[in-house]
Symmetry: C2
Subunit: 435 residues, 2 copies
C-alpha cells in the first residue's frame, strides 16, 4: 500500500480556523436510514412476541430455532466457555473485572435527607434500576471487555436482573463473551440481536420479561431501535466510532505515540486519531513511526484507512494553545503525554477520559485500568459522561411539610398556582390552611 | 355535565391483575407522526440558519420578523416584565428561586481522585456543560415555575450560557415567563419555538451559537425534534402528561385528597390521578368530594375529562399491599398521605418525587418546596430521575500509570487486546515495557 498522507495543520496558518472547523464538522459515519425497517421489526415483536423474534433471528442470523429455549444460554454453556478460554486470558478478565468493581463502587451516590430552616424536610433517595438489558454485538466487535464494562456498573449499582442479548450469526458465539458474562454475573443470556433483540428487551415477550433500561453498542439497526424505544425504556448514548486525541511534547518517544494513535485507528476505518504537539520534530518522527508500524499490523487495512481518512497532526506554538482546541474536539480519549500532565489536566473541560503521562497508553483504560471504556464519542463529551453506576440508579426526591411550615410556604405556592391559571393547585394548599 | 364514573378496582377481585395491567398499559397520548415535517424543518435550519428560523416563525407563529434581532429579547424587555408582574407574584417567584437554588446546590457532585494499591492514580472530575438551551412552551403551558425549574439547576451547575427559546404566537409572550428568566439569570432569550427553535439551538445559526444540551417540555414537534437531534446535543427526557398517585389511609380528610387528585387532573385532559387506599369509606368519600369540587373549578372541563378517562381508585386489603402496585405504576408524583409515611417510604422503589404526610400537597413541590418539578412521567421513574444539577455536569475519568504499575497491569491488558484481535492495543503496552 501507498504511504498515507495525513492531514497536517498548524495554528500559525492563516486558514487554520477554517480547516480546524472542517475537522470538527467531519462526519465519520454514513448513517443508514433504517427507520422504516426498524419500526416494522419493533411493531412485529410488540405484537407477536417470541414468534417474531424467532422469525427475524432465522432471517437475519440464519439461525433456525424452533423455540426461544433454543436461543437461551444456560449455565452449562457458560461453564463450558469458562473451561474453553485460555487460563491467561481468563485471569486477565478476572483482574479486569475486580478492578472495574473497585473503581465503580466509589461512584455510588449517597442518599441525602435534611431539614431546612423552616423545618421542611427534603431529600434525595437513590435506588437501582430493577432490570437492565445489555446489547453485545456479534462478529468481530463482540468484545468480552465491553461485557464487563456494561455489566459491572449495573451489578455494582444493585440491579437485580441483567439480561444480555448477543446475536450468534450462523450459530457462532464468542466463548470469551460468555466467559465475561459468567464472571460479571449476568442473570440471563439470549442469542438474539438486531432491532428484534432491542424490541424484546423493551416490550418483553412470552419468554423475556421486559427491562427498564438498555445499554450497549450496536449497528445502525440497533441504534435506530434504541432511539425509538427511548421513553418506553431508558437507553445509554448512541455510540459512534472511537477516537483519541494525544497531546504530546518533545519529551516523548515517537514510537510510543505512534503505537497509541494506531491502537485507536485499528478499531474501525471510521475511528479517528489526532496528535496535537508543540514540536515539529516530534510531529515528523511520529508520522514516520506510524508509517513504519502500520506495515507490521495484522489490521493494517483498517488502521491505514482510519489514519489516512480521519487522522490529523496539529502543530501549535505551545502546549497551552492545545487545550482550547482539545476542548472543542471534546475527545472520547485524551492522552496528555507531556512532562507536566497535571498542568494541562486543569484546563480540560470536555473529554470522556484522560490518560496522564508517558506510561498510560489508552489501552490500559480499555481493559484493566478500572475506569469504564464506554465513553462519549463524536464530541458528545461536551454534554455527557462515560458509563457509570449513575446510569443504573435513579433518584427520588422527598418533600415533607407540617402544618406550620405549610402555612409559611403555602401562600407563595397559591400565588404562583393562580398566576399560572391552575386554581386546583392553589386550592390543594388553601383547603389545608382553611383559607 | 354528568357525574364522572371513575375506574374502581379492588385487589380482592379475581380479575384485578388483568385490569391493573390494562391501567399500566393505557396510553394517554396519541403520538402524532410528525417525523417527516420535523426532519424537513431541521434540515432547513441547518442549511439556511436564521432565514429558515424566520420563515417558520412567520408560518407557525404568525410573527413577521425581518431579522433575528426582532426576535431577540433584551434586558429592557425583561426589566419591563419584572415591573409589570404583581408584587406578590414576584415575591413568590423569588422565594421559589431561592429555595430551588438552596436545594440544588446540595446536588453538586464532588471530584474524586485516589491512588489504588498498585499505585495507579484514578479519578472522576466533574465539569459543567458550557451552553444549555431551555425550551419553554408558548400559550397556556407557558409556566414561569418551569423556567425556574429548568434554569436554576443549570445555573447552579455552573453553565456559563443559558439560552431560552419561547414561541410568542401572534406576538403574545407571558411577562411572568420573562420575569422568571430574569430572576434565574438566563443569558439569552429568543421568541422562537417548535422544531425550528430546537434546530437553531442544536446546530446554531448566524445569530444563535449552538448549545450542547437542550431541556424543557414541548409539543409533538418539539419532542420529535429533540429525539432527532439527540447525539448532536444532549436532551432531557421526553415529557409526557403529568400524573399523581396518592396512597391514603382512613386518617385523611377526603376533601384534601380530592383537591390533590384534581390539582393533577386540571393540568391536562391526558393527566392521570390515582388513589390507592385501604379504606372503602375513604374511597367513597373522596369520589364524592371530587365530584363536588369539580363543579367549582375554572378548569372543570379539563379536570373532569382527565378524571373520567384516566382516574382510578384502587382498594387494597392493607397499605403494605399498596407499595408493589405503586412501584409498578412508577408515578411521577407519589403522595404518602398516611399516618406513618416513613414506613411506606422505605418500600418506594420507583417514583419521581414523594410527598409525605397530610400537609404536603404535591403543589408545594410544583412551586416552592425547593426540589425540582421536572420529573419522570409515563412510568419512566423505573429508569430515570427528575431534573437536577447532574443533568448539567459531566464526568471525565482519569487514569495515570507509572513505569512500575504499567509493568504490573500491562500483561493482562496485552492478553485481552490479543484475545480481541486488537494487536495495536497490545503493542501500545508492550512497546513501553520493551516486551
Amino acid at each position: 500500500m501507498e504511504k498515507c498522507v495525513v492531514l497536517r495543520l498548524s495554528n500559525k496558518d492563516a486558514d487554520f480556523e477554517a480547516k480546524f472547523r472542517d475537522l470538527l464538522a467531519g462526519k465519520r459515519e454514513v448513517s443508514e436510514d433504517v427507520d422504516q425497517i426498524v419500526r416494522d421489526i419493533l411493531d412485529a415483536v410488540r405484537l407477536e412476541g417470541d414468534r417474531a423474534v424467532l422469525n427475524y433471528t432465522r432471517k437475519f442470523d440464519r439461525l433456525d430455532a424452533a423455540a426461544m429455549a433454543d436461543l437461551t444460554v444456560g449455565q452449562a454453556e457458560i461453564d463450558a466457555a469458562l473451561e474453553e478460554v485460555a487460563g491467561e486470558t481468563l485471569d486477565a478478565l478476572r483482574l479486569a473485572h475486580d478492578r472495574i468493581v473497585t473503581h465503580h463502587a466509589r461512584q455510588m451516590p449517597k442518599d441525602d435527607r435534611y431539614t431546612d430552616t423552616l423545618g421542611v424536610e427534603l431529600g434525595s433517595l437513590w435506588t437501582a434500576v430493577e432490570a437492565v438489558g445489555i446489547y453485545v454485538p456479534g462478529g468481530t466487535a463482540s468484545y468480552p471487555s465491553s461485557v464487563l464494562m456494561n455489566a459491572v456498573p449495573a451489578k455494582v449499582a444493585g440491579v437485580e436482573r441483567i439480561v444480555m442479548v448477543v446475536p450468534s450469526p450462523d450459530g457462532v458465539l464468542n466463548p470469551l463473551v460468555l466467559a465475561a458474562a459468567g464472571i460479571a454475573g449476568v442473570s440471563e443470556i439470549y442469542r438474539i440481536g438486531g432491532a428484534q433483540a432491542v424490541a424484546a428487551l423493551a416490550y418483553g415477550t412470552e419468554t423475556i420479561a421486559p427491562v427498564a433500561k438498555i445499554v450497549g453498542p450496536g449497528n445502525a439497526f440497533v441504534a435506530a431501535a434504541k432511539r425509538r424505544v427511548f421513553g418506553t425504556v431508558g437507553i445509554d448514548m448512541i455510540a459512534g466510532p472511537s477516537e483519541v486525541l494525544i497531546i504530546a511534547d518533545s519529551t516523548n518517544n515517537p514510537d510510543w505515540v505512534a503505537a497509541d494513535l494506531l491502537a485507536q485507528a485499528e478499531h474501525d476505518a471510521a475511528a479517528q486519531s489526532i496528535l496535537i504537539t508543540d514540536s515539529a520534530e516530534l510531529a515528523e518522527a511520529v508520522e514516520a513511526a506510524v508509517e513504519a508500524q502500520l506495515k507490521t499490523l495484522p489490521r493494517e487495512d483498517v488502521a491505514r484507512a482510519s489514519w489516512r481518512d480521519f487522522g490529523a497532526i496539529v502543530l501549535v506554538g505551545d502546549l497551552e494553545e492545545a487545550m482550547p482546541l482539545a476542548n472543542r474536539i471534546a475527545p472520547e480519549h485524551l492522552e496528555l503525554a507531556v512532562a507536566d500532565p497535571e498542568a494541562l489536566l486543569k484546563k480540560v473541560r470536555n473529554a470522556g477520559a484522560v490518560f496522564l503521562g508517558h506510561y498510560t497508553p489508552e489501552a490500559i483504560g480499555d481493559y484493566v485500568g478500572g475506569s469504564n471504556h464506554v465513553l462519549p464519542t463524536a464530541r458528545s463529551a461536551r454534554f455527557s459522561s462515560g458509563l457509570s453506576v449513575m446510569d443504573f440508579v435513579k433518584r427520588t426526591s422527598i418533600l415533607k411539610c407540617n402544618a406550620e411550615n405549610l402555612r409559611a410556604l403555602g401562600p407563595a405556592a397559591m400565588a404562583l398556582g393562580e398566576s399560572e391559571g391552575l386554581s386546583a393547585h392553589a386550592r390543594s394548599v388553601s383547603i389545608r390552611l382553611n383559607l
